[in-house]
């Protein structure tokens, strides 16, 4: 039942994604200033937004783990962080390619891009450090502290394009400032929905693996006691 629900969610996400890509590539006109390359926004921004959603869930799960000491919260946190980190990588890579096309450079060390790179490195650090601690409760406690510490970077990523005195190479928040043409908004929102659906299915698969891993740990202990 659970596996079927995950498959259904992933399939729904794939259908929405294919429908949206069809709209983006075949129905939408080129943008006046950028030409065809602007279409990268329909994967670049949804990846970043979805990652932030999962990092927020991981923050809540990490705090709940520290309060309740329930390992299910730790499993939710690590699953969300793994998928979120992958999405930040998608965001960074697509952004870099977009930057090369529009600015002539692959990377600029401005506040937005640097804080997003920091976000990727902080959560990558979480994933690298985690397996190094063998004892499950100690591992989960340390991971929860790292997840809470890493989340401090997320407001910086958001504020980087909104602070009045900060100049960045990266453009501002196009949706909030009305810089996006109305015809581009529906596929933009559908793109966010598609990435969220697919990545939620991936989080659920990862969560199932984490539960199985806990079962393996308990069987090993049982075997050791026999």
């Amino acid at each position: 039942m659970r596996e079927k629900a995950i498959w259904a969610l992933g399939l729904l996400g794939a259908v929405v994604m294919i429908y949206n890509l069809h709209t983006v590539f075949l129905n939408l006109p080129d943008e006046a200033m950028q030409g065809a390359i602007y279409r990268i926004i329909f994967i670049h921004v949804p990846a970043a937004i979805s990652a932030q959603v999962f990092f927020t869930v991981s923050l809540v799960a990490s705090i709940l783990f520290l309060v309740k000491k329930n390992h299910a919260f730790d499993a939710v946190a690590v699953s969300c962080i793994e998928v979120g980190t992958m999405l930040v990588l998608v965001n960074l890579v697509t952004g870099s390619i977009w930057g090369k096309s529009q600015w002539g450079i692959w990377w600029a060390w401005d506040l937005r891009m640097t804080s997003q790179l920091m976000c990727f490195l902080l959560y990558l650090g979480y994933l690298v450090v985690r397996p190094a601690i063998a004892e499950p409760t100690q591992r989960a406690t340390m991971s929860a502290f790292i997840a809470i510490f890493a989340y401090a970077d997320i407001p910086l990523v958001d504020l980087a394009i909104r602070l009045p005195n900060v100049r960045t190479q990266h453009p501002g928040a196009v949706l909030e400032t009305g810089q996006m043409a109305p015809m581009f908004i529906p596929p933009f929102l559908v793109g966010i929905l598609a990435v969220l659906l697919i990545s939620t299915a991936l989080v659920l698969v990862r969560l199932h693996q984490e539960t199985s891993q806990r079962e393996i740990d308990s069987l090993r202990r049982e075997l050791h006691a026999l």
Partner: protein, 51 residues
């Protein structure tokens, strides 16, 4: 239509799908390894309990 622009668009979407596909393959391979280990340990525990 600007061909350079289209080339970068192709690179962008290809890179995104490569990262996502690599992650999915990693999940699948890890899932198989976990399932194998789980079956092996369950069989071992059963054997020990019978013995």
């Amino acid at each position: 239509m600007d061909v350079t622009n289209l080339t970068f668009l192709f690179y962008g979407y290809s890179a995104a799908w490569i990262v996502i596909t690599a992650f999915v393959l990693l999940l699948v391979s890890r899932g198989r390894r976990i399932d194998r280990e789980l079956s092996r340990l369950k069989a071992l525990v059963d054997d020990k309990q019978k013995a």
